[in-house]
Symmetry: C2
Subunit: 136 residues, 2 copies
DNA sequence: CGCCGATCTGGACTTTGTCTAATATTCGGA
DNA sequence: TCCGAATATTAGACAAAGTCCAGATCGGCG
Protein backbone atom coordinates (compact mmCIF):
# COMPACT_ATOMS: atom_id res chain seq x y z
CA UNK A 1 0.00 0.00 0.00
CA UNK A 2 1.35 3.37 -1.06
CA UNK A 3 -0.09 6.45 0.60
CA UNK A 4 -0.86 9.61 -1.34
CA UNK A 5 -2.74 12.72 -0.37
CA UNK A 6 -5.55 11.56 -2.65
CA UNK A 7 -5.77 8.27 -0.78
CA UNK A 8 -6.22 10.12 2.45
CA UNK A 9 -9.59 11.58 1.54
CA UNK A 10 -11.03 8.10 1.08
CA UNK A 11 -9.37 6.83 4.22
CA UNK A 12 -10.87 9.68 6.21
CA UNK A 13 -14.32 9.21 4.69
CA UNK A 14 -14.24 5.50 5.44
CA UNK A 15 -13.75 6.45 9.08
CA UNK A 16 -16.59 8.89 9.02
CA UNK A 17 -14.34 11.95 9.01
CA UNK A 18 -14.96 14.96 6.81
CA UNK A 19 -11.81 15.30 4.70
CA UNK A 20 -10.60 18.89 4.91
CA UNK A 21 -7.24 20.21 3.72
CA UNK A 22 -5.77 20.22 7.18
CA UNK A 23 -7.02 16.78 8.06
CA UNK A 24 -5.63 15.35 4.85
CA UNK A 25 -2.24 16.91 5.51
CA UNK A 26 -2.14 15.56 9.04
CA UNK A 27 -3.25 12.08 7.98
CA UNK A 28 -0.68 12.13 5.20
CA UNK A 29 2.08 13.09 7.62
CA UNK A 30 1.26 10.10 9.80
CA UNK A 31 0.49 7.45 7.20
CA UNK A 32 3.11 8.22 4.58
CA UNK A 33 5.81 7.83 7.21
CA UNK A 34 4.28 5.02 9.22
CA UNK A 35 6.02 6.41 12.25
CA UNK A 36 5.10 7.36 15.78
CA UNK A 37 4.78 11.12 15.88
CA UNK A 38 4.05 13.53 18.68
CA UNK A 39 1.66 16.45 18.20
CA UNK A 40 4.70 18.73 18.01
CA UNK A 41 6.27 16.70 15.27
CA UNK A 42 3.05 16.61 13.30
CA UNK A 43 2.85 20.40 13.55
CA UNK A 44 6.41 20.79 12.36
CA UNK A 45 5.90 18.47 9.39
CA UNK A 46 2.62 20.00 8.30
CA UNK A 47 4.02 23.52 8.50
CA UNK A 48 7.38 22.99 6.81
CA UNK A 49 6.78 25.29 3.86
CA UNK A 50 4.71 28.13 5.24
CA UNK A 51 2.58 28.06 8.33
CA UNK A 52 -0.64 26.36 7.28
CA UNK A 53 -2.21 24.64 10.24
CA UNK A 54 -2.66 25.98 13.73
CA UNK A 55 -1.78 24.25 16.95
CA UNK A 56 -5.44 24.03 17.93
CA UNK A 57 -6.30 22.26 14.71
CA UNK A 58 -3.47 19.77 15.06
CA UNK A 59 -4.63 18.84 18.55
CA UNK A 60 -8.31 18.77 17.57
CA UNK A 61 -7.59 16.63 14.56
CA UNK A 62 -5.42 14.14 16.37
CA UNK A 63 -8.09 13.78 19.02
CA UNK A 64 -10.70 13.25 16.32
CA UNK A 65 -8.58 10.60 14.58
CA UNK A 66 -8.22 8.88 17.93
CA UNK A 67 -11.97 8.82 18.58
CA UNK A 68 -12.67 7.54 15.09
CA UNK A 69 -10.12 4.77 15.44
CA UNK A 70 -7.84 6.02 12.71
CA UNK A 71 -4.80 6.20 14.95
CA UNK A 72 -3.76 4.93 18.33
CA UNK A 73 -2.22 6.72 21.27
CA UNK A 74 1.03 5.47 22.74
CA UNK A 75 1.88 6.65 26.22
CA UNK A 76 5.49 5.88 27.03
CA UNK A 77 7.05 9.21 27.71
CA UNK A 78 5.65 11.31 30.54
CA UNK A 79 6.30 14.50 28.61
CA UNK A 80 4.45 13.79 25.39
CA UNK A 81 1.99 11.49 23.70
CA UNK A 82 2.80 9.66 20.48
CA UNK A 83 0.28 8.89 17.77
CA UNK A 84 0.54 5.63 15.91
CA UNK A 85 -1.00 5.13 12.47
CA UNK A 86 -0.77 1.37 12.93
CA UNK A 87 -3.99 0.24 14.60
CA UNK A 88 -3.49 -3.49 14.17
CA UNK A 89 -2.67 -5.33 17.40
CA UNK A 90 0.94 -4.80 18.30
CA UNK A 91 3.20 -3.82 21.13
CA UNK A 92 6.01 -1.36 21.56
CA UNK A 93 9.71 -1.23 22.11
CA UNK A 94 10.94 1.97 23.66
CA UNK A 95 14.58 2.99 23.77
CA UNK A 96 14.75 4.98 26.96
CA UNK A 97 17.80 7.11 26.20
CA UNK A 98 17.10 8.00 22.59
CA UNK A 99 13.33 8.12 22.85
CA UNK A 100 13.05 5.88 19.80
CA UNK A 101 9.82 3.94 19.62
CA UNK A 102 9.23 0.90 17.41
CA UNK A 103 6.59 -1.75 16.90
CA UNK A 104 6.56 -5.32 18.07
CA UNK A 105 4.24 -7.49 16.05
CA UNK A 106 1.65 -9.05 18.35
CA UNK A 107 1.28 -12.14 16.22
CA UNK A 108 3.64 -14.36 18.17
CA UNK A 109 3.32 -12.73 21.56
CA UNK A 110 1.13 -14.52 24.05
CA UNK A 111 0.08 -13.04 27.34
CA UNK A 112 -1.47 -15.60 29.65
CA UNK A 113 -2.48 -15.85 33.27
CA UNK A 114 -4.11 -12.46 33.61
CA UNK A 115 -6.66 -12.46 36.43
CA UNK A 116 -10.37 -12.04 35.59
CA UNK A 117 -11.53 -8.45 35.25
CA UNK A 118 -13.55 -6.80 37.98
CA UNK A 119 -17.31 -7.23 37.36
CA UNK A 120 -18.85 -4.77 34.95
CA UNK A 121 -15.57 -3.97 33.23
CA UNK A 122 -14.48 -4.56 29.66
CA UNK A 123 -10.98 -4.45 28.31
CA UNK A 124 -10.35 -1.46 26.14
CA UNK A 125 -6.85 -2.47 25.25
CA UNK A 126 -3.68 -4.10 26.52
CA UNK A 127 -0.50 -2.10 26.20
CA UNK A 128 2.76 -3.91 26.44
CA UNK A 129 5.86 -1.75 26.48
CA UNK A 130 9.36 -3.17 26.53
CA UNK A 131 11.72 -0.52 27.80
CA UNK A 132 15.30 -1.05 26.66
CA UNK A 133 18.59 0.67 27.20
CA UNK A 134 21.92 0.51 25.39
CA UNK A 135 24.42 -1.64 27.32
CA UNK A 136 26.78 0.74 29.08
CA UNK B 1 4.61 -4.96 57.61
CA UNK B 2 3.29 -1.84 59.25
CA UNK B 3 4.79 1.45 58.18
CA UNK B 4 5.60 4.21 60.63
CA UNK B 5 7.56 7.40 60.21
CA UNK B 6 10.31 5.81 62.30
CA UNK B 7 10.49 2.89 59.89
CA UNK B 8 10.99 5.25 57.01
CA UNK B 9 14.39 6.48 58.19
CA UNK B 10 15.74 2.93 58.06
CA UNK B 11 14.11 2.24 54.74
CA UNK B 12 15.68 5.36 53.28
CA UNK B 13 19.10 4.58 54.73
CA UNK B 14 18.96 1.06 53.35
CA UNK B 15 18.53 2.60 49.93
CA UNK B 16 21.42 4.95 50.43
CA UNK B 17 19.23 7.99 50.93
CA UNK B 18 19.89 10.57 53.59
CA UNK B 19 16.73 10.62 55.71
CA UNK B 20 15.59 14.20 56.11
CA UNK B 21 12.24 15.36 57.49
CA UNK B 22 10.79 16.01 54.07
CA UNK B 23 11.97 12.73 52.62
CA UNK B 24 10.53 10.83 55.54
CA UNK B 25 7.18 12.55 55.12
CA UNK B 26 7.09 11.80 51.42
CA UNK B 27 8.12 8.18 51.87
CA UNK B 28 5.53 7.82 54.61
CA UNK B 29 2.82 9.23 52.36
CA UNK B 30 3.59 6.63 49.71
CA UNK B 31 4.29 3.57 51.82
CA UNK B 32 1.67 3.95 54.52
CA UNK B 33 -1.02 4.09 51.85
CA UNK B 34 0.47 1.60 49.42
CA UNK B 35 -1.22 3.53 46.64
CA UNK B 36 -0.24 5.05 43.33
CA UNK B 37 0.17 8.76 43.87
CA UNK B 38 1.00 11.59 41.51
CA UNK B 39 3.42 14.33 42.50
CA UNK B 40 0.45 16.61 43.05
CA UNK B 41 -1.21 14.19 45.40
CA UNK B 42 1.99 13.70 47.34
CA UNK B 43 2.27 17.46 47.73
CA UNK B 44 -1.29 17.74 48.95
CA UNK B 45 -0.86 14.94 51.48
CA UNK B 46 2.43 16.17 52.83
CA UNK B 47 1.13 19.70 53.23
CA UNK B 48 -2.29 18.97 54.74
CA UNK B 49 -1.71 20.73 58.05
CA UNK B 50 0.48 23.68 57.22
CA UNK B 51 2.66 24.10 54.20
CA UNK B 52 5.78 22.14 54.99
CA UNK B 53 7.37 20.93 51.80
CA UNK B 54 7.92 22.85 48.60
CA UNK B 55 7.03 21.73 45.12
CA UNK B 56 10.69 21.56 44.12
CA UNK B 57 11.47 19.25 47.01
CA UNK B 58 8.59 16.94 46.21
CA UNK B 59 9.79 16.60 42.63
CA UNK B 60 13.45 16.28 43.62
CA UNK B 61 12.64 13.67 46.21
CA UNK B 62 10.45 11.58 43.96
CA UNK B 63 13.14 11.59 41.31
CA UNK B 64 15.70 10.56 43.90
CA UNK B 65 13.49 7.72 45.15
CA UNK B 66 13.14 6.57 41.57
CA UNK B 67 16.90 6.54 40.94
CA UNK B 68 17.53 4.67 44.15
CA UNK B 69 14.91 2.08 43.32
CA UNK B 70 12.65 2.90 46.23
CA UNK B 71 9.64 3.54 44.03
CA UNK B 72 8.59 2.89 40.48
CA UNK B 73 7.14 5.20 37.87
CA UNK B 74 3.87 4.27 36.18
CA UNK B 75 3.08 6.04 32.92
CA UNK B 76 -0.54 5.48 32.00
CA UNK B 77 -2.06 8.91 31.88
CA UNK B 78 -0.65 11.44 29.44
CA UNK B 79 -1.19 14.25 31.89
CA UNK B 80 0.64 12.98 34.95
CA UNK B 81 3.05 10.36 36.23
CA UNK B 82 2.17 8.06 39.11
CA UNK B 83 4.63 6.78 41.66
CA UNK B 84 4.29 3.25 42.94
CA UNK B 85 5.78 2.17 46.25
CA UNK B 86 5.48 -1.45 45.15
CA UNK B 87 8.70 -2.37 43.36
CA UNK B 88 8.10 -6.10 43.15
CA UNK B 89 7.29 -7.35 39.65
CA UNK B 90 3.70 -6.58 38.81
CA UNK B 91 1.49 -5.09 36.16
CA UNK B 92 -1.27 -2.52 36.16
CA UNK B 93 -4.97 -2.26 35.65
CA UNK B 94 -6.12 1.19 34.63
CA UNK B 95 -9.75 2.28 34.70
CA UNK B 96 -9.84 4.76 31.89
CA UNK B 97 -12.85 6.82 33.01
CA UNK B 98 -12.15 7.09 36.70
CA UNK B 99 -8.37 7.15 36.45
CA UNK B 100 -8.16 4.45 39.09
CA UNK B 101 -4.97 2.44 38.94
CA UNK B 102 -4.45 -0.93 40.62
CA UNK B 103 -1.87 -3.69 40.69
CA UNK B 104 -1.91 -7.02 38.93
CA UNK B 105 0.37 -9.53 40.57
CA UNK B 106 2.94 -10.74 38.04
CA UNK B 107 3.23 -14.14 39.62
CA UNK B 108 0.88 -15.98 37.31
CA UNK B 109 1.22 -13.80 34.24
CA UNK B 110 3.39 -15.20 31.47
CA UNK B 111 4.47 -13.19 28.48
CA UNK B 112 5.98 -15.33 25.74
CA UNK B 113 6.97 -14.98 22.15
CA UNK B 114 8.68 -11.61 22.40
CA UNK B 115 11.23 -11.19 19.63
CA UNK B 116 14.94 -10.98 20.53
CA UNK B 117 16.17 -7.54 21.46
CA UNK B 118 18.24 -5.51 19.02
CA UNK B 119 21.97 -6.11 19.55
CA UNK B 120 23.57 -4.12 22.35
CA UNK B 121 20.31 -3.56 24.16
CA UNK B 122 19.19 -4.70 27.59
CA UNK B 123 15.69 -4.74 28.94
CA UNK B 124 15.12 -2.14 31.58
CA UNK B 125 11.57 -3.21 32.28
CA UNK B 126 8.40 -4.54 30.78
CA UNK B 127 5.25 -2.58 31.44
CA UNK B 128 1.96 -4.29 30.90
CA UNK B 129 -1.10 -2.11 31.25
CA UNK B 130 -4.63 -3.43 30.95
CA UNK B 131 -6.94 -0.56 30.13
CA UNK B 132 -10.52 -1.21 31.18
CA UNK B 133 -13.77 0.67 30.97
CA UNK B 134 -17.12 0.28 32.72
CA UNK B 135 -19.64 -1.47 30.47
CA UNK B 136 -21.94 1.19 29.10
C1' DC C 1 -24.37 34.51 -5.48
C1' DG C 2 -25.53 34.06 -0.59
C1' DC C 3 -26.50 31.14 3.37
C1' DC C 4 -25.35 28.04 7.17
C1' DG C 5 -23.25 24.59 9.64
C1' DA C 6 -18.79 22.83 10.13
C1' DT C 7 -14.10 23.92 10.60
C1' DC C 8 -10.08 26.67 11.60
C1' DT C 9 -7.53 30.23 14.00
C1' DG C 10 -4.66 33.19 17.27
C1' DG C 11 -3.86 33.81 21.51
C1' DA C 12 -4.81 33.55 26.34
C1' DC C 13 -4.82 30.17 29.75
C1' DT C 14 -3.85 25.84 32.68
C1' DT C 15 -1.15 22.21 34.31
C1' DT C 16 2.88 19.53 35.07
C1' DG C 17 7.32 19.74 35.72
C1' DT C 18 12.20 22.15 35.70
C1' DC C 19 15.67 25.44 37.06
C1' DT C 20 18.30 28.64 39.84
C1' DA C 21 20.46 31.22 43.31
C1' DA C 22 19.93 32.13 48.03
C1' DT C 23 19.11 30.04 52.51
C1' DA C 24 18.92 26.35 55.81
C1' DT C 25 19.99 21.85 57.59
C1' DT C 26 22.62 17.82 58.53
C1' DC C 27 26.63 15.17 59.58
C1' DG C 28 31.13 13.88 60.96
C1' DG C 29 35.08 15.20 63.39
C1' DA C 30 37.55 17.45 67.15
C1' DT D 1 28.91 20.37 72.09
C1' DC D 2 30.46 23.25 68.28
C1' DC D 3 32.07 24.09 63.42
C1' DG D 4 32.63 23.90 58.58
C1' DA D 5 31.61 21.50 54.42
C1' DA D 6 28.55 19.14 51.99
C1' DT D 7 23.98 18.33 51.27
C1' DA D 8 19.11 19.62 51.10
C1' DT D 9 15.29 22.95 50.81
C1' DT D 10 12.95 26.96 49.16
C1' DA D 11 10.25 30.59 46.42
C1' DG D 12 9.36 31.89 42.42
C1' DA D 13 10.47 32.45 37.56
C1' DC D 14 10.35 29.66 33.66
C1' DA D 15 9.27 25.98 29.98
C1' DA D 16 6.48 22.79 27.38
C1' DA D 17 2.29 20.27 26.32
C1' DG D 18 -2.20 20.71 25.83
C1' DT D 19 -7.01 23.15 26.29
C1' DC D 20 -10.33 26.58 25.40
C1' DC D 21 -12.91 30.25 23.29
C1' DA D 22 -14.91 33.71 20.39
C1' DG D 23 -14.47 35.32 16.04
C1' DA D 24 -13.12 34.47 11.11
C1' DT D 25 -13.30 31.37 7.21
C1' DC D 26 -14.56 27.64 4.32
C1' DG D 27 -17.28 24.86 1.26
C1' DG D 28 -21.40 22.68 -0.47
C1' DC D 29 -26.06 23.60 -1.89
C1' DG D 30 -30.15 25.99 -3.35
Amino acid sequence: MHYTRDNMAGLLRSHDINPTHQRIEIAYALFSRQEHLSADQVMAIVNTRHSETSKATVYNTLKLFLEKGLVREVIVDPSKVFFDPNTSPHHHLYEVDSGKLSDIDAEHVVISGLPPLPAGMVTEGIDLIVRVRRTS
